[in-house]
């Protein structure tokens, strides 16, 4: 089988993650085209990547017919849906940055179309691959914590003033805070515990006062087995990221993964030695730790994009259909908003 030929739409700050991933998986992938609406940005990207460039993605889709297999969509959030639909209709597989769309029904639309056209539609929800996350998932799967009683998610991040000055600060373009920077973690939560009932959501602005949505959000939720849950997402933190953690209380123990981006195990306590031994086995089977991406003024999530591409090459990428619950989760949280 030949290499998967990739064209990327959007040459913003996440572009490098995708380029690195293609490079890392160069036996399986080949970059063939880049596209950005901003000619200057595109030209800069083309200087380092000798491929065909386009300012109009529709032209790219037409002109690359037969020369490109997959389109990676790394544009501002509000453009994802339309570009995904167009790319599928032009016969390409797609990989879409998060969030796929702001409504679960729109994600479903993409998934259904891909199925109908027999194309592959993948989502960039790469935090699933964090070793600490995988360890927690295994602990839940093996029921080492017993019955789950409580799940607390805390994301206390620092984002500089000006972070929202572009499309991120416009609701119709960036969505709101959960879509932009909490989606990975809500995806992890729903993957392990399902989409919960939301009991109440409170939002406020403490630092980013000129944006039309919150910089601080609290939500109280209840998962389907009756486990209580809390969601706290805060980007008004100073002077740096404080934590991004999931703490799970069960009838047989406690597990908390944290760090800047769910990248370390902070605490694991089990009721019996037998459970402790099983936990040690899970730890020893896990891969090495990873460090979150740094963007100069702030730190983001973990760099699992290469793994994401590797899995796609194996036909095991995260499907767009798998992204539906996290979007539904976010919709539910905002559906109970009061402030």
């Amino acid at each position: 089988m030949g290499k998967i030929k990739v064209g990327i739409i959007g040459c913003g700050h996440i572009l490098n993650r995708h380029l690195e991933s293609i490079e890392y998986n160069s036996k399986k992938f080949e970059l063939v085209a880049l596209c950005d609406i901003d000619k200057g940005v595109l030209d800069k990207a083309l200087e380092e990547n000798k491929v065909v460039g386009f300012v109009d993605y529709k032209n790219m889709l037409k002109e690359m017919d037969g020369k490109m297999d997959m389109v990676t969509i790394a544009t501002p959030n509000h453009l994802h849906h339309e570009m995904a639909i167009d790319s599928l209709n032009e016969g390409y597989d797609i990989l879409i940055e998060k969030p796929i769309a702001f409504e679960a029904s729109k994600v479903e639309e993409i998934s259904d179309l891909a199925k109908k056209l027999d194309k592959k539609a993948y989502a960039v929800l790469q935090v699933r691959y964090n070793p600490a996350v995988q360890m927690m998932r295994e602990v839940i799967k093996q029921k080492l914590l017993g019955d789950i009683r409580s799940v607390s998610f805390i994301q206390r991040w620092q984002r500089p003033i000006g972070y929202f000055k572009d499309w991120r600060g416009v609701i119709d373009q960036g969505g709101k805070s959960l879509y932009e920077y909490a989606i990975h973690y809500l995806d992890i939560l729903q993957g392990m515990f399902g989409v919960p009932k939301v009991k109440g959501t409170y939002t406020s602005n403490h630092k980013h006062l000129d944006i039309p949505f919150e910089d601080t959000l609290y939500s109280v939720v209840e998962y389907k087995n009756g486990a209580s849950g809390a969601i706290e997402v805060n980007v008004a933190v100073e002077p740096s990221n404080l934590e991004c953690s999931i703490a799970v209380m069960g009838s047989q123990g406690f597990l908390k993964i944290s760090g800047n981006a769910l990248d370390v195990v902070e605490r694991a306590s089990f009721e019996t030695e037998e459970l402790q031994k099983k936990w040690e086995k899970i730890q020893s089977d896990a891969g090495d730790g990873i460090t979150p991406n740094s963007y100069g003024t702030h730190v983001g999530s973990c760099p699992n994009h290469p793994k994401l591409y590797k899995e796609i090459a194996k036909g095991k990428g995260i499907k767009v259909s798998e992204a539906i619950p996290s979007i539904q989760f976010i919709q539910n949280v905002y559906g109970q908003e009061e402030n």
Binding site: S150, S152, Y202, K207, V220, G226, S228, A236, P239, G253
Partner: protein, 320 residues
Amino acid sequence: MGRKKIKIGVVGCGNIFKKHLQGILDNGDHFEIVGIANHSKEGGLQLPREWNVKTFYDQTEMFAELGTEMDLVIILVQSIYHYDIAKEALEAGYDVLIEKPIDSVVSRLEELDILASKLGRNAYAVLQCRYLPVVDSLKRILEGRLIGDIRCVDFAQVWQRPLGYLTEKQARLLFEYGVHYIDLLQILFGVPKVFFTKTFKHKLIKAPYEDTLRTIVEYDGGISGSITVTLAAEPQNLETKLSIIGSKGSLEVDFRENEIKGLFEDEKDEKEYNELIKNILEINSFKQLYENISLGRGITVKDSIPVIQFIQDIYAKEGK
């Protein structure tokens, strides 16, 4: 000539009595126990011989027999009995010191306060966590505005308690277990507006009330806050932590470890913080409690009204 010792009558000799006894012994020049009322007369601990303590089955008997030989009644029974016994003790002419929670209804605390004033008696509350050195350092850090304007205040009390621990003779979770820390929150930030509260039973299923509570609040000045209190953790207590996020930095107060960790934008603020946390020592807060009572500076029942109001407000917003 030294001050006359304050003669104490104890009502209830459960676990908490040990701590009170130590606080009294640590202030032995000012206090002496003269009577103990307990449902079983064997409940008492070994007491200094020179005290000549008389024991009784109930407080009514103790009040009748000891009369003016006693000055202060300390009430350490299960919380549903606090109000009645406090009232009886005040009416019998004694000062009172009441374990937490005094009661779960603000108007009943107000009644006790008014009754004490009317009778010229002192009514004190056991809210000894106010004396923790970590609290004093925290107050100074906040007063010095070392982390700037406060944005968010999040408190989590994640404890383990065995099955059968909660009974109908105790008040609900926050009154009984969260009250000390919620009291500190109201001292530092005032009584907030409560947005919503959700309660859960995760472990102590047969208990008369929740073992887990989550609530979202907003303090004066628009400060956002969350409070989580649970007794359903395993296999042991996990944390008692307060996180404070400000415009120039963040603090994390660990009440179990008696420490404050801070992150600051400015070096100058960090230096000042380092000075303020240098001398956080372990202290016996019960010693401090009795010392202050001996000096007439005890925490009064009136002082404890805001925390009961705070908790009442939290439960008033309880949703299904």
